[in-house]
């Protein structure tokens, strides 16, 4: 007699925990019942992201780079499981390599994106990039895993925390990724992943007054509406693309701070 495998319950990833949707709802995707997050789950996820922001942005760049590299390590060791829920090994390898690539940027982007400014007066003046805060990510539908990683990595390497709406049609890879994140060194709340219906959830994310930026990569036809909602608190809107890998993708979620100080004795 063949052994009946034990199935996994696919839940949300919020604040480092794996709760069910507070609504108790699920939907079927990729042959599984997946948690269908509600607007209150969006609210909770944003709260968790906000709570984690101070610590995450306060870590040294070297440290954040190491955390990102650790994610790559964890994904590499779960390659088989992850491959099952995505387009295959190649997608996973690309995604792992992306983490490694962005991990290396952690302590470099400020040197590429910042400036020291030769003002015409006795002041020392420099401009440094800083994280914008809590970033909402509407992840691309496909590739479900690498698309998400491609949008998430530049967001968190810059010191932001994220609330991700996973691919609606292929959400399982995102949950697998969450499990890798949970076992890596990413502090709880830095990445929060919600599964469910984007059309239902994305507007709550876009209109949330405590979200500083939103990446509408996977939003398709809803973009105008999301952008309108984003204006409520002058959110930064990024129309991300799944295939982009660049320090300028990091820059899109950074603020620039200019500091002046007199030079005197």
């Amino acid at each position: 007699m063949t052994r009946l495998p034990v199935r996994k319950t696919y839940k949300l990833f919020v604040g480092g925990d794996f709760p069910r949707s507070e609504s108790g709802r699920t939907y079927e995707a990729q042959g599984q019942n997946v948690a269908r997050a509600s607007r209150k789950d969006v609210r909770d996820a944003v709260r968790a992201a906000r709570g984690a922001f101070g610590k995450w942005r306060g870590m040294t760049a070297y440290n954040r780079g190491q955390v990102l590299y650790r994610i790559a390590e964890m994904m590499e060791s779960r390659k088989e499981e992850l491959a099952e829920f995505s387009s295959g090994r190649k997608e996973i390898e690309t995604a792992v390599d992306r983490w490694v690539w962005y991990a290396g940027w952690a302590d470099k982007y400020a040197q590429v994106l910042g400036t020291s400014n030769p003002v015409a007066a006795p002041y020392f003046n420099f401009t440094i990039p800083e994280p914008t805060g809590v970033v909402g990510i509407v992840a691309p539908e496909e590739p479900a895993l690498d698309g998400l990683v491609g949008r998430l990595a530049p967001v968190i390497v810059g010191g932001n925390t994220a609330v991700v709406l996973a691919s609606e049609s292929s959400p399982l890879a995102a949950i697998e990724l969450a499990e890798a994140l949970a076992t890596s060194d990413v502090p709880g709340g830095v990445v929060n992943i919600l599964t469910g219906f984007k059309a239902e959830l994305a507007p709550w994310l876009a209109g949330h007054m405590d979200v500083n930026a939103i990446d509408v990569a996977g939003a398709d036809g809803e973009i105008p509406e999301l952008e309108r909602l984003a204006a409520e608190n002058v959110k930064r809107v990024v129309r991300g693309r799944a295939d982009r890998q660049s320090p300028y993708e990091i820059a899109a979620f950074l603020e620039l701070k200019t500091v002046w100080h007199p030079i005197g004795v």
Binding site: T94, V112, T115, N117, P118, V119, A120, A121, Y123, N125, T127, E130, T132, N212, I223, P224, E225, L226, E227, R228, A230, A231, E232, N233, V234, R236, R239, D243, R244, Q245, S246, Y248, E255, L256, K257, T258, V259, W260, H261, P262
Partner: protein
Amino acid sequence: MTDLERRQDRAPVPSGWDYAPAPEARDIVTLEERYGLYIGGELVEPKSGEYFPTVSPASEEVLAEVGQAGPEDVDLAVQAARDAYDNGWSAISPAERAKYLFRIARILQERSREFAVLESLNGGKPIKESRDVDLPLAAAHFFYYAGWADKLEYAFPHRRPRSVGVAGQIIPWNFPLLMLAWKIAPALAGGNTVVLKPAETTPLSALLFADVLRQAELPPGVVNIVTGDGRAGAELVKHPDVDKIAFTGSTEVGKAIQRELAGTGKRLTLELGGKAANIIFDDAALDQAVEGIVNGIYFNQGHVCCAGSRLLVQESIYEPVIEKLKRRLTTLRVGDPLDKNTDVGAINSKQQLEKIEELVRSGEEEGADIYQPPCRLPEKGWWFVPTVFTNVAQSYRIAQEEIFGPVLSVLTFRTPDEAVEKANNTPYGLSAGVWTEKGSRILSMASRLEAGVVWANTYNRFDPTSPFGGYKESGFGREGGLHGLEPYLDLEESEVRG
């Protein structure tokens, strides 16, 4: 004792030393009775047929009539900009583009006194500020971006900088010419053409700037200037052939623009309101900090988006700071903007004065203590006495809302954490000030304050090389510096990684 010696008896202490009026000569400016719109290199009659008067806020005297751009006029301006873009400007060699900008910078320097007087006349700001701040900075801005025009590929590694197209730019009334420079200089350096909408109450320096463009022989249509009220701005925002909108003004209007552009894919930068905290620690160089407070809130009548309108004073130093501040206020000279000794000029418009008065009333009603130095105000025109509110709670409207006038709200704090918490407790995030002699504390505060510009042991300093712009609801995008080029460039990566 001889007569001579008797006269030497010590004179009594004088009862006062009134500085005689020292007006800057106004006749350096020649005004037309009526100005059209600057489209395609010429001042043309508005198709709308409408004109409106523009006045001096210090006297309410009508200075000239200017055209109100209607939809058709805005369309013509955008067409002119598009034609100029397609037929030459975008193809002109960057080095030549740079030379036009250098020319503009030089002409502004040459005509700076004329512009300074006009700026004070039409906007109400003290001549010493338009002369020593607005004009030098405006010229410097053109000079700075001129040099970038043929060096763009060095600014953004691994990217191919290309112009965006037609930029629609809407500027406020607080620094009319300087905001024009902030907008036009990087746009032209990037190879774009421009339709600029000056503020309704301060159109004249932009119209005089059209004459600078004539002298610089800038090709027609590269810069177009459409005057008018908010309707003209709204037309520009929604015009389908504008590729990029840059707006400086209120957060309310900024949000409306962001909403209007939703889904269009047009580029947008917003420089919006602020309610900056100016934080004084007890080890600060106090007399300089007091100057910084004064410069932070009374510079340009407080019509400054980054004004240090919330003073956070450490409790242990509260009394001497307030004493010094109140004393300093008695030396501020409020009056004729064209007088070289005026420190605080006229409020820009009746509407703005009413807004300030309304908020000040709310402060008194909510229970704050008001201090205003004795002050003789001119009879005509719009004026407001420099004001300090003490005993202000964080929840009062005067601590929350942007007043955009010479009104300071004073709060206290005990620890650095409390200062940061109070400073950041606002939807805005444009600027902040920190005063302390302790270096490590400056760096810690600078890092924790949510603000695009942090002035440490100084306030309200500006420079073309220094990026300026906000966090949170104070907007996005930067003006000034290398970063100020970005909104005006299409920056495809030269090689996209997979």
